[in-house]
Chain length 211, copies 6
């Protein structure tokens, strides 16, 4: 997390994390993350909504996307950390895609143009500089077809133009290109992963691997 | 509530309630009810949704009403108890009013005729005989103005006709007439309220009331 | 809440709320309040106590009032915010009324002068300047009769003198006069209520209201 | 506990426990018991009340004892199982001792004869045949001094006569004699303790014990 | 799931589910399943264990697999439903693979042959007829390599022979062949998916699809 | 605990505790401690693990001890408070005894030298100066026999040498000598115990004790 660096225990290398609101990730993981909220409250299975009624399920997801959007907008306003803002900017754009997609799907099922209620709240994503950047790349108009054998008819729902800029909605074959995959480094002050160079030599010997 | 009757303890007058799914109301109240669900899980303050954004709040309530409708429909199908069915029938009708009202309010705020998605699920309340009875009384088209000094302009939202039968929506001045108010009887097998005739005489004496 | 003021998102107008112990009200409401405690733990239905036995229920409420009093006294000592102290001072006085009333009611039911245990803890409200102010106004001796058609015989319980100052207990017809009612202002940095001047013009048009 | 008996898995020896309300003890323990209530809800640390104020702490415990008494009385009425009734009868008597002791201690601290409110609810323990049996043995008037070096002055509080029968309260040196201690038997259908005769031979060999 | 069949609401088609221990799936889903346990308690994010220390994480998973095994064995014994038993039989075999794999991995990391503690509890899977069937197919000795580009060196860990039968452990390229994929049927008595034939015609028209 | 000192309420003597992460102990106790974690989450009965299978129970406890060790190591690194470090140093040493004891017991039951996996994480306790101090005293090699009539054969398990230093394991008759027992002082700013000198005089009079 950049907040700590390796040091002997008596130098208290984890001290910067003692007074943060959620200290679980420092005490319970190797600076990883649990599916906990900012107060350390865990995700719970009862947050799932799957009623069995298709219109209701889509309505719930439409609501969920716009509700999450409001929380993201507020969290953005709580921080000037550039990494946090970059992430939130991207999520605002992709969450906007999801909201629009559920709105379009609801129109398909019911004939009501639910998506015309967007954006909720009634300010555009472009108000957030990091989101505006991704919108210029067209990412707000793009739905990714992750599985070539499923979602074959997604164009029947994701079609027409984006209500914000009137540009055409588009389906992209395959997943987004994404960023690079980072191997998480050792975090010795967290005793993670807890294996020394000597350990590795012993393990290689057990595995009959030549180093 | 009718399942038990007074008897000395060694006759186990509460035995009919030993194996019910939710036994808290028998053990913890005098056959009253806690704000618990059918499994004994309590209502929690985190169930409140009040985002501060008016459209989002109305959207949530619209969703909530139709989600609750589905659960009511299923609970109706789990029982043939006539009192339970009567209550659910009435609630289906009144819940339908609430859903329509939030849908109308959303139209006012956004211009989108959200209420045209109703009913969700796509079967009419009249499918349930007890609900049909209340619809014949026009209760599905009636919004009650509980407070004469508030909600003055409610007719601006609750207007036009009901989508189910094309009959006019109407605002009723004051609360519904309601049923009679029942004094809950003593439940001696629950030791509720725990006061004997002798207690009452003593209390009256302390209060200097003549019996 | 006075802690934030409107500004464009990139100025992080909600930053003052990032590190408070309970950030839910900033992220999830428009600076309103959930029924959560200072740690964000919600109120739960299982906090209700209604045993069905009248003496036990009153005993619980007597305990609850004095337990809450201790917490209020400690919270008072955690802050020098004058608004917080004013509110706590008033609550100490009114909570004292409630404790005394339950104590008097227990005497009525059982003949035991439970209220003679007060105050618990054994320091007077007058130790808190803001509470002393309200006691001088006689508010610690006043029970309000909110409903003219109920609580007709409340004088039979709320009578005699206050144990602190020997002044007569009194029943006031109607609710306390109270303060002014404040319309909550817009909180644009929370996107609440999320309606612009332009929105209002559109809504008025839909409602056929002339602005 | 008597509800099951050993049998090969395909004879479903635990079937009698499939539909009980709380099946955790069958699935998660070897027919032991978790500190869970009848619905499987666990005990939680937040149930502790220790305010730091002595009068308030005693008041809470006085309330707790009488609240628990009511629940015990109701649970008694839910069952005609003789073992359950025997246990509840004994607990009613001992819980009555605890309530009286807290009431006496409150009198010591405050001068108010709180114990005169007992019994709550206002029916005597002797209404329950199994409790009446233990009262005849004087157990309702006996406080045990478990530690010879502590509680030296307990007679200063536990003195006078019992309000129910006017017989003298007494302090007993040492713990109650109690019943026999039972070694819990193997429960093979629960795979508990999961050690076979062959396992024991191997273990003895490792421990260098001769069988 | 076979327990109900379509019928008009007044015939109470969901009645068979009214008194089951966990009724959430009937009321809240379309006879699907939530990630809830048999008592309706949800899965929680705090059940995750990822300490950052590799040995500790593997030790936890080794423990988890054998702990889950005991619960499965007991649940098997609670039911004679052939579908439940078939599923549990399969899971016992695959869970056994996972336990052995974590044990082997721990040996690699630490040199201690942790897997020699298996089976825990000390009875073989073959005690369960349905599990014995899968063991005869060699499934207890097979690890599947789901991703051709990852887990390349898994043979370094999953090697040698199975402690139960001395037969060689083997890595299978690709996922198991699996069963057929079933489209879940409509469940009209649950109003799932809530779309009528007429709905489908309307939807097709909106999608410009010819039926 | 040293963070506050007595003062009149309007000097806000508890202010130093207003912004700590867990403020429950200040508001709800007299600066005592609840069985809550650093975030105020309570201990819950579902944390108990007692499966009925002896090997599994010991395996769980072995895991628990080493998992707790990692958390302790990290908490040590979060603070430079000498009292906290002293306590953690001691707990690391005693926790190490427990882990080794469960590992030895597992060897007894299964023949697998589970304890050879220690220490987990793979750094010695001596890395922590306060722990090193206690190890020099031999405390890491000592098991206390608290009960002279139980645990008679504990030497059969706790024998051989400590894997860290090759010194002999030893059983000590009786509990450790321990530190002095401190009477907790009054904490007037918490109104604990809430008894004044005048109260004591009154109580003594009620108890017929001469002061």
């Amino acid at each position: 997390m950049g907040a700590t660096k390796p040091a002997p225990p008596e130098q208290a290398p984890l001290k910067p994390l003692k007074d943060v609101r959620n200290a679980y990730h420092a005490a319970m993981t190797g600076l990883g993350a649990f599916p906990f909220d900012s107060h350390g409250a865990p995700w719970k299975g009862e947050y799932i909504f799957v009623s069995g009624d298709l219109v209701l399920d889509f309505l719930y997801n439409f609501f969920l996307e716009v509700g999450a959007r409001l929380a993201k907008m507020r969290v953005y306003e709580m921080t000037d950390n550039p990494v946090a803002r970059e992430m939130i900017g991207y999520l605002l754009v992709r969450g906007g895609v999801h909201a629009l997609a559920y709105g379009k799907a609801l129109e398909t099922l019911t004939g009501v143009e639910v998506w015309r209620m967007l954006p909720i709240p009634n300010v555009p994503n472009s108000m957030f500089p990091e989101a505006a950047k991704y919108e210029k790349m067209g990412i707000h108009r793009t739905l990714y077809r992750f599985s070539p054998s499923d979602f074959k008819d997604i164009e029947n729902i994701w079609r027409g133009t984006h209500p914000d800029d009137g540009q055409p909605l588009q389906v992209y074959e395959g997943p987004p290109s994404g960023g690079e995959y980072h191997e998480l480094p050792d975090v010795p002050e967290e005793f993670a992963p807890g294996l020394s160079a000597d350990d590795f030599r012993k393990i290689a010997k057990r595995l009959e691997i030549e180093l």
